[in-house]
Symmetry: none
Subunit: 212 residues, 4 copies
Amino acid sequence: MGASKTPSDRSTPPQSPRKQERRNRDNSVMKEAIAIMAEKGYAATSIQEVADRVGVLKGSLYHYFNSKEELLFRILEESYLQMNAIEAEVDELELPPFDALLEQIRRSSVWFLQNQERAHIFFTETKHLTDDRLTQAREWGRAFERRLSSLIVAGQEAGSIRSDVDQRLLTRFTIGAINNIRFWPSRPGGKQFTVDDLTDGVVLLVGDALKS
Amino acid sequence: MGASKTPSDRSTPPQSPRKQERRNRDNSVMKEAIAIMAEKGYAATSIQEVADRVGVLKGSLYHYFNSKEELLFRILEESYLQMNAIEAEVDELELPPFDALLEQIRRSSVWFLQNQERAHIFFTETKHLTDDRLTQAREWGRAFERRLSSLIVAGQEAGSIRSDVDQRLLTRFTIGAINNIRFWPSRPGGKQFTVDDLTDGVVLLVGDALKS
Amino acid sequence: MGASKTPSDRSTPPQSPRKQERRNRDNSVMKEAIAIMAEKGYAATSIQEVADRVGVLKGSLYHYFNSKEELLFRILEESYLQMNAIEAEVDELELPPFDALLEQIRRSSVWFLQNQERAHIFFTETKHLTDDRLTQAREWGRAFERRLSSLIVAGQEAGSIRSDVDQRLLTRFTIGAINNIRFWPSRPGGKQFTVDDLTDGVVLLVGDALKS
Amino acid sequence: MGASKTPSDRSTPPQSPRKQERRNRDNSVMKEAIAIMAEKGYAATSIQEVADRVGVLKGSLYHYFNSKEELLFRILEESYLQMNAIEAEVDELELPPFDALLEQIRRSSVWFLQNQERAHIFFTETKHLTDDRLTQAREWGRAFERRLSSLIVAGQEAGSIRSDVDQRLLTRFTIGAINNIRFWPSRPGGKQFTVDDLTDGVVLLVGDALKS
DNA sequence: GATGAATGAGAATTCATTCAT
DNA sequence: GATGAATGAATTCTCATTCAT
């Protein structure tokens, strides 16, 4: 009956020196869910599939989250927290606006490149949340935008950023450039670029586009 | 229009002075499908919902397409054909590379802004195709990239486009900027930008970023 | 795979004498659902089971209702409407209060005995409704109670019904007697009582209990 | 109230000062299970919910019972034992049949009113038992009926209870009246009745209905 | 072309129960 | 006794698709 299961099959270790093997599924659940959702999108991702990859029955996954939507929310939240931490780091550098903006672009880009799947989900799947979760996640996005916007406005006031283009357009242009960097490494074949190659690229290009 | 279900349908015109109704239905199917898929994504869009909006029963939709995937493919194909037509128009102008690139950006942006939903689906839902349809749609995207790439390379050779950044990065940067313009008008409140405002913006910014 | 559809396949049945066999499932669905829910209770009744008895796949049942709860509501609603019609009939007789009450008891009892399953569900499963449906169903019950109550009060005022017991107790006692009649025929073995035997019984007993 | 509960069951506690904690948990399990099952019904009651209210994890509950069905059985059994004790008390009074019957009604009613939830479960959820447990619980119900029946028959023979109605109908009428008293206090608003008000009511009404 | 009942597969979720720790 | 992860089966509901009429 059942499909093997026999988790107690061990027989080798007599006492029990490692009491793991249980808990860390939580990480595994997040990891697999992120991988599948990034590839197929939230709606096309089935709990079954996540369970298969984690190696548990689908019902068991509900020990780790209460609903598929909550799982998505957690993924989004983690991403937000990490991106938020990056903002805080840049703040501490107390750079002048334009430099802060470029530093923010650089660090965000690095994070996006190192967390392509998370980043993709963040920009793509928020719409599947509902109610409070949707409200909150949208607020995260807005906060990110507000922040870039205020750096840009400050740069314009300081004269380091061009003023012949409306700050809202500059902001969206910049956000777009950052968001899109997650697609840059995609096409394999041909020599790969390093993360630094890519980030240097965006920073340079966006910098030249925005400077006054 | 709204509800009702075409009450004028039966009995009156014997021959066929209204071949248009058929056409209209067909257009209506595409239109509603685009609206819903842009909003919710392909996977979360149900045929039922499209049928409701069109005002037909679910089963009847299969007179207009053979499968949901084919419907998606048709949407994508239409978009591709229109974007392709734009490329052809730009070609006919026989401009020097950099100018051709900027003109291409401008016209693509206009199209993206006027067809936000289509554009969104194009960049977002291709992954849900399978087999031949997937292969073909991917090829469309690659062709678009190749074309921009060749303009950029030509511009670099002509000295009008910067050469201190790898052409592949310049290409992706440019594509990203175009793709992202579909999000620019989003936030309502505050004065709206016209399509021209926005296109002038991208062209200016990308131009300044790429010029040598 | 794709294509096909073969719309010209028809050819076999020329006229088609019997066009039934399809629609009347609706009655069948209600009937089987009532039987099972009366026996096991709403919560322990599975859609699967209903489908099995109706002879369709479970998914197909959703052509007949939108949710299990709606199915329950429909059963309850039908019962309510029938019981309501009985009240109206009694009203038309324009009897003095006590006689009206007894007539109401008699006719309700007949209905309860002839619709034991429905009646049982009505008194037992309302609690599984939610929101608006719950509110409405509760209101039905309250209306039934209010009506009996007003007949009893009128009887008290007319002197035909005892006044040494609070009318609310008389009302509940009467409702209880009616509700419980659905259990009277239960135990088989021994000679069965006819519906008339049983109704004569309740009317007589409740009448003697209430008369002044 | 209370009564029995068989506190002397297990081997007289040896030492252990806070053996009560255990007892309390056990009581708490019964108490919460009764509350939830009375409200939602057995089938709609989840072990999870009981555990939540008790303040233990789901799995831990299985120290207190072997299965959900056994839990139900225990609830039913407790009720039966208490009702049985009431019968015994009435027996000891050695009253003439009709008086014994009324006394039985009175005391049963008091118990039902003071144990509404238990009583409700008793009359409502027995059907969810299976096999031996079902057989036994049904026997309890039948014994209760048999007893009332024999009092009624004796009353008829003694001439104190009416003989113009078949004793089986009188029995069911009486049982119904007792069973239903658990619903009498329901509707709040307006002045509440005391337990005595209510019991006096049933006894009076049933008495008048049955007397010869 | 349109209808609408039916299919069959699969979705998310719940749940009683077990068991090693 | 208690924990909590896991099971395995079942449950409600959804959906793309078919097809006789």
